[in-house]
Symmetry: D2
Subunit: 378 residues, 4 copies
């Protein structure tokens, strides 16, 4: 890289923070974009993106399919302003639950708290940034105090929340979202965490210690003797229960990483651990730049997932991987969905139904244990 | 890897060729797409694409900059229907010359000759395709006879053209384009080669033996004793002459490969071989998925090009690389340009000025030889 | 996508499982490989790998530097037989702690339990595999019952372990390793989890619910009312404490993903949350195929980490990223280290010092809270 | 990238050129490396590299297979010192002909002429390099005068060669190699171009105007009125003739790019243009970092080549793509071959048999024209 010259004349801090503020762009359902995706995106990854749009808009969202839809998010999408697409889809009931890296949720809080992240360049002098207290996420720049003040907000929230003892990440994020809604009026327009709380969409994090939210929870335990802790068991069981409750199941995977794995392990858990023959996903959409030939999970294909029972063997025509940066592909995808026929669904508000769904999972698992069927017999 | 199942039930030939015909989508200058690129593409590669659009629309096309603009094309863009974007830019005078792999020009002829290429899938059984006489370019499918008949057309053209002796590729392609315009009325709407001939845009190929056009020229020599041959010297000198004639210089590089190298070597040739201190490019836009860390030229950055004198050291702010499949990025880019303020320029019709420009190059090179200046003193 | 023909004649299950067993190859310190890395790997990624070897062997392992060394592992390395390199490095005291995806630890158990994984091909029919009960990890194949029996072992272990209540993943993995050492004599030769327990190397998992180990812990809670749960707070604090205890700090990052993030957030946690000015890493080695331009954390460079305080600004010469599949780069790297001068260190056995180190962290954090220093003043 | 700090303190020119000289490392056939490839490289790309080694050593080089073996080279391999592996394979008769980018041949001349290229870093200030007259190829650094003096040598050679009129690139490179052998005694040890001339291995370039050699030929024409020109027809026909002469055919493709295409089009030319049913390749080895999903030819797989008749449908088991930087993979591959059973073959010295082979091609093509068989009937 640098396609800009390293060693270019030094910038003062003001320069580094002179870019346009990043905002949460909201897709409007443009007919022109719909047409481009249908008629102009005909081959290669353009065609894959076009297929992904049609699988989502024509099949997953078709009312009679009643698809339980999970969105998984890895990569710095909220810093890049992609939260607006997620908010739009949640508000319209087009996704039912969310699995995200902690970093995306933490950085979403900056928007909720009215801090400003700015457009910048990846070709800057990081030693200079370090000295000037400017933080860089690839080409997104902001003052280090945004981190400090967001951390302070989290610690205050943890104190006033009364949370004590093991919780699911969905509970922690829901409580955080409610706190934001109360304190930052209207912030559901520019915060994924707040909008999710408002619209009842549960948010999970696969690596709960792996972000500043988790770091502050750990601080709270070490320094204040708090007993609040994330219980990953609850997350595993809630996601299994949600997937089990789906009439059809489908996912939209942005990036890959541990959120992808966390979503995709639900069906094997049902089958391999709980002995419940749920079957695999009916729809599978991924936008990624990772490659199958590197052998990692992020790049693994729907076909490989078939051997694990993660994807139904009969549905491969309804799976697609588009190799493209999500910052380009996802806004186009969201525009297409919003501009399509079934662009609103009744929201399931799963955040309020978690206990009920886990109870069903437990009941079915007990029945399966008491009346075991040999594996493979479905 | 197949994200569709290998080993799926066999398809008859008709099935393989049942996809929608691929057409030459023409950008219309959609304001919605303009807005998405300005306001929604804020970070990461989305921001790079947005920057590329603004560098092109606001700087390279600004009338007072009078930029000599080359477009280089590698990767199967005409099979994917991207020729429509190139035709639109040529018709509007927004690019001045073209360097392409031979394959893109050869496959463009299928459209000119009214053959049909179809949308398909990359997840098909190639042994089956081979047996059924279906040709595959990634996910574009068409009958093998399209190749045979296009080859027959080329051989007939070579025969009737009267071309004999060494020619530049620009001459061969221009003559081919004139032949198409005469025989396939209106084909400048759906053929890059024909449109280039009509609008006077010279087309070069860096690896002239490296496509079915070159293969048929070679056949013509071996079997008919023709003396027609491509003279790469003429290409090298014409491109140097065109670059030398630019007030400002800039390029749009799709993919990379030998067309990128062929374009970028013009300035070093002027400097290193002809001793003419032209300086490097003023603008540099690349859309690629190749990576700098693999060390190849396709992935090399504008910064590396500075050390070679290919890019002006002062202009790095006007260089950008967007990492994205051209099938996605280029239509968005073309829509933006067509929807911008300076969306028409007087066409330079360089194809008719090649002799004059090469004569100027020769004159300046002779002057430089007779009055040599030490290198580095500019 | 298949570079082997999809739709090739069907294979029986025996065929799919006819490849050579995968074993834990142990590096021997070959002088030939040392010489190739020094003299033959001179430019591009070969040179980066050569630099990585020298940074590790000549600097990180130099006795007077007393470097606290973390290894992070993402991607299916134990299925590919790379566990032997990790065992060798642990046995020699060349790494001090390990952060891994759960999947690598889970699949390591197959080896410990004497199941056989086999060499295969990625170009197989997954629907057929699914029907035959064969599991595929890219090109590694094994019967589904290996999963079932490994799960059964985990559940039995959980039952007999007596573990109840919140634990760190280091504790869970240590207990699992001790159980293996007792029941599978000699398995420390072919199991990372067992060898880590024997040599006192703590193993952390950043996404604890995100593997079959975590799935079975969740089952244990739902179905048996167990109170065993992973407490990510403990992991966060233990890793901070270990990093704080380092005289110098350095990491070897295989792949990237959440283990990379989990390691790298330790210094920012110390600085941003605990207000302890530890400073960043002194050495940073990464082997990955992810790219910085996609903007994800896996591909983020040491330079970007500087702006966050994750890497010391003065040490960039001791950081290197080698873009290469770990299955190729890591065995070469391990051969080099084993064949170098400082190829043994006294093992720290950190697994037994975790409480003491966390107590030190708490003490320093309390001191920092009581005598706060403004940020940036170090 | 920069994983080294941009903006680090300025380096003087001496610093930039203080790295170790790059030399042509010669593989010795190490048994340790052979063992690592057989036993330690068991899955993912390590396994692909291991397979590639066995296909080459056990099948392509097996005497009774009498395989006509082409090596294609793209990417800056001679600057990186990989020329030594190519020289070793040529000297042993293990490759029969070579297709290379012009840049690799041009930079090989620096070694032949005893100039020094040095190990460096990709993280340097290119504006500074430009000002100091230092040229950078990724992380290889050398003074600009190396270019000037190499160019001067080429121009002098062109003058004294007496070459006038159209020639194949194989002829130009052979004459250049003879000139080097005469003037630089012993340079066949450290020059691919010289060694090829000595051992009778023809070298082709697919894009003849696309390097400093081509630039100087063009200069020679424009300024001296020379009639020397590259005739791509001759190259196309010679390569077709060589492939036609193979009992079995196989290729080793480093990188991809136009050399890959130039090699692979030989069989379709025979079939589609000359109507000679030669069939496709029997063996296909590629080392690349390009990906099939980007749709370019460099990343296209052997399977896709089947539909074009470039690869024999029955041989897909003898095709392999290893995704790895050639600077790492190719030395390992060459060590394996040199350390194997059939590590010497009688050299074919094709450079002296080109006329005879083209005559055979012409004879067979005339027979095919006079007795046409319908396509597909073989």
């Amino acid at each position: 890289m640098p396609h800009r010259a390293p060693g270019s004349p030094g910038h003062s801090r003001t320069d580094h923070l002179s870019g346009r503020p990043i905002t949460y762009y909201r897709p409007k359902g443009s007919p022109d974009i719909h047409r481009l995706l249908d008629d102009g995106f005909q081959a290669f990854n353009a065609a894959r993106l076009s297929e992904a749009c049609r699988i989502y808009a024509d099949k997953m969202l078709r009312p009679e399919h009643d698809t339980m839809i999970g969105l998984t998010v890895a990569g710095a999408l909220t810093p890049a302003g992609l939260g607006g697409c997620i908010v739009e889809l949640m508000e319209r009931g087009l996704i039912d639950f969310l699995i995200s890296t902690g970093a995306n949720l933490y950085h979403d809080l900056h928007y909720a708290l009215n801090f400003t992240l700015r457009r910048g360049s990846p070709f800057v002098n990081d030693v200079e940034l370090y000295e000037q207290g400017v933080i860089r996420i690839y080409d997104v720049l902001f003052p280090a105090k945004v981190l400090m003040e967001t951390d302070a907000y989290i610690r205050e929230f943890l104190g006033r929340s009364g949370l004590d003892g093991p919780v699911a990440t969905s509970e922690l994020h829901y409580r955080l979202g409610r706190d934001l809604l109360e304190r930052q009026s209207g912030c559901e327009e520019y915060s994924v965490v707040a909008a999710a709380a408002k619209y009842g969409v549960p948010i999970y994090t696969s690596s709960p210690g792996d972000s500043s939210i988790g770091m502050n929870v750990a601080y709270h335990e070490l320094m204040h003797g708090s007993r609040l802790m994330i219980d990953p068991n609850k997350d595993v069981n809630e996601i299994c229960a949600i997937v089990l409750a789906g009439h059809q199941n489908g996912c939209i995977i942005l990036g890959g990483g541990s959120p992808k794995n966390f979503y995709l392990q639900a069906q094997p858990t049902l089958w391999e651990v709980y002995n419940i023959p749920k079957g695999g996903n009916d729809y599978f959409i991924q936008m990624t730049t990772d490659q199958v030939v590197w052998g990692g999970l992020s790049g693994a294909t729907p076909a490989e997932a078939v051997s694990w029972g993660k994807v139904n063997p009969g549905v491969l025509p309804d799976t697609v991987v588009c190799y493209c940066d999500s910052t380009i592909a996802f806004p186009l995808f969201a525009e297409y969905a919003v501009g399509s026929q079934w662009n609103r669904r009744t929201r399931r508000e799963l955040v309020h139904r978690r206990d009920e769904l886990v109870a069903t999972l437990k009941r079915e698992a007990e029945a399966a244990r008491d009346n075991p069927r040999p594996h493979g017999e479905e």
